[in-house]
């Protein structure tokens, strides 16, 4: 077997190969550009809504632990409730937020795809 020398993709202006142009003909028309803009806007809105919802839950947990001292006294299976809440209770919330986001983001993309293909 012969050894082959391999090198990184090189191109004029040191731009990584394959990055441009856009993969769709979408940007070639005004309507196409409009669809792309509205896709980006809906994905951003979705991301912000999920992030804000999660941060609200986080803030509520923080306030509860800080303002309700009884949480440190009450116990479940020998573990104080404030430890359970912060140490284990937030992870399912994170997972749920991520799952909901994935579903909705994929739906936004499918809707965009339908619009473009109808044209």
């Amino acid at each position: 077997m012969t050894r082959v020398r391999v090198t990184a993709p090189q191109s004029a202006g040191r731009r990584p190969a394959g990055l441009l142009p856009g993969r769709d003909a979408a940007v070639d028309s005004d309507v196409g550009r409009l669809y792309v803009r509205s896709l980006i806007r809906s994905q951003l809105r979705l991301a912000i809504v999920v992030a804000a919802g999660f941060l609200l839950v986080l803030a509520a947990c923080g306030l509860m632990v800080a303002l309700v001292p009884d949480l440190a006294v009450l116990r479940l299976l020998g573990i104080p409730l404030n430890w359970l809440l912060l140490g284990a209770g937030l992870y399912p919330v994170i997972g749920l937020a991520a799952w909901l986001y994935n579903r909705s983001a994929a739906r936004n993309e499918a809707r965009y795809r339908e619009l473009v293909d109808e044209r």
Binding site: R15, A51, F54
Partner: protein, 487 residues
């Protein structure tokens, strides 16, 4: 701890890493393999690898140690480390994968059509990587000292050597397998001892209250510190260079999102165990905090609470997991730094990659040997603050805002780097724990400052917004066509 047992555990991990790395070497063929594993790694492998790479010394040793020291205040660390991936999923994962770039500097250069932006991003990425490797090497030094009695530098040097050899030999393909293996090793290495200790202690009648014990008498963290810490952890993760480069190994944007969801599950399961270890330490071994050995809590817990041959076996398992943590995070960082250094300075050849890897590993080694650890979770938290103030704004605005200009990106990154870096230096000079809160946790003001400068300068230099912005934004956000499409 029994020194031969510790040494054997360490050697076993090194050997396993080398064997898997070598196996990977045989299928690394092209430059594409070398850099990003040709983007053909299945989601479960990839998610395990991301988890393996992410769970560093701070997660494996630091979190439990900090919980032992400061109780519920420290529980925000694992939550923040995990939720950082949620933010990455929401704002970065799919678009970044679709950008088609290899590294963060590749991305910023293509998005903003500017080699100056590329250079500044590269500098920041290298700084972040070096800062992040140092605590890994401190952790390695601590572990080798506690487990074998050898001097600390042996651990740091061993980690750098093993990492350099695997990275230079196999590139990222082998790293992916090594990292995936190391996630499961780390999980086992914490879960088995923690469950064993729990069962062992569970028979006892009286359960001491974790809050009644305050081993160090440290004051509780104020709301400012908690908020600032969470800001750093939530928005620092999405700028970590070794985390980003992993996303390029997904075949498309959708699978990048699916992978991230699996990663979140893996991290959530993992962090239950350092949390439990910290709680156990607070209840049954608070003495470890008093003599400054808190970061070694998970290493010492089996010996303190179980003892005998069973304690030795569990300790060996923890030592193996700890080294898996140092090796995996360090090699992930070295790979991504080597990619950046070689593409920018050395022409992007495989030989350049190897020289880049050497530079990426040796500089933090020198720094780690010259300094002492100030608490692993804390120093890694500061690195997150630094990425949140530099790389995070340029990624978020670059992906979501058409108005970003090259001048704005550079000004914002430099502002964040100078403010956050300055706060880190000033805080260290003022002596770690006694530094005022706004210096010890700078993210709450440095992150908004970096964003503000980036937006204002971009607004003022509108004529510098690249003409390609529409095409690039389309590429980032439009879903790929399925490969086997019938249309």
């Amino acid at each position: 701890m029994n020194p031969p047992v510790g040494l054997a555990a360490f050697l076993a991990v090194v050997l396993a890493t080398a064997v898997i790395g070598f196996y990977g070497l045989r299928i690394s063929r092209t430059t594409g393999d070398f850099y990003v594993a040709s983007r053909t790694v299945p989601p479960w492998w990839n998610a395990s690898a991301i988890g393996g790479e992410y769970l560093s010394a701070a997660s494996f040793l630091g979190v439990a140690g900090l919980i032992l020291l400061s109780g519920t205040d420290a529980l925000w660390f694992p939550v923040g480390y995990t939720a950082g991936y949620l933010m990455l999923l929401l704002f970065v994962a799919a678009p970044l994968r679709r950008s088609g770039a290899y590294t963060i500097p590749d991305f910023t250069e293509a998005r903003l059509e500017s080699t100056a932006v590329r250079r500044v991003t590269s500098l920041v990425v290298v700084a972040v990587g070096w800062l992040y490797i140092v605590p890994q090497l401190h952790g390695a030094g601590l572990t080798i000292r506690i487990s074998t009695g050898l001097p600390s530098w042996v651990g740091a040097l061993a980690v750098v050597l093993v990492v350099y050899l695997t990275v230079a030999a196999g590139g990222m393909r082998s790293i992916t397998f090594v990292q995936a293996f190391q996630y499961w090793l780390k999980l086992t290495a914490l879960a088995v001892p923690v469950v064993f200790v729990l069962l062992h202690q569970g028979g006892g009648a009286a359960v001491p209250a974790p809050e009644s014990v305050n081993p160090t008498g440290l004051p509780a963290a104020g709301p400012y510190q908690t908020v600032s810490l969470l800001l750093a952890l939530l928005f620092g993760t999405l700028g970590l260079p070794h985390v980003l480069v992993r996303f390029y190994t997904n075949p498309d944007g959708r699978s990048a999102r699916r992978t991230t969801l699996i990663v979140l599950g893996l991290l959530s399961v993992f962090y239950l165990f350092p949390t439990a270890a910290g709680l156990l330490g607070r209840m049954y071994a608070p003495g470890l905090a008093r003599d400054g050995r808190s970061d070694a809590l998970v290493l010492l817990l089996p010996g303190e609470l179980v003892g005998g041959p069973a304690g030795d076996a569990l300790s060996a398992l923890v030592v193996a997991g700890a080294f898996a943590a140092f090796l995996s995070t360090t090699s992930g960082l070295v790979v991504s730094l080597a990619g950046v250094i070689s593409q920018d300075l050395l022409g992007g050849s495989v030989r350049g990659f190897r020289i880049g890897a050497l530079l990426a590993a040796v500089v933090p080694l020198a720094f780690a040997l010259a300094t002492d650890s100030l608490g692993l979770a804390g120093s890694v938290g500061l690195v997150f603050a630094f990425t949140a103030s530099t790389i995070c704004p340029v990624l978020l605005l670059g992906i979501w805002w058409r108005g970003l200009s090259d001048a704005g990106a550079i000004a914002g990154m430099l502002t964040g780097a100078v403010l956050c870096g300055g706060a880190m230096v000033a805080g260290t000079l003022l002596g770690g724990a006694s530094a005022p809160a706004w210096l010890a946790q700078p993210a709450a003001w440095t992150v908004p400052a970096a964003f503000t400068v980036m937006v204002l300068v971009s607004r003022a230099t509108k004529q510098r917004i690249p003409g390609t912005v529409t095409r690039v934004m389309t590429r980032l956000h439009v879903p790929e066509r399925p490969l086997a499409s019938g249309r």
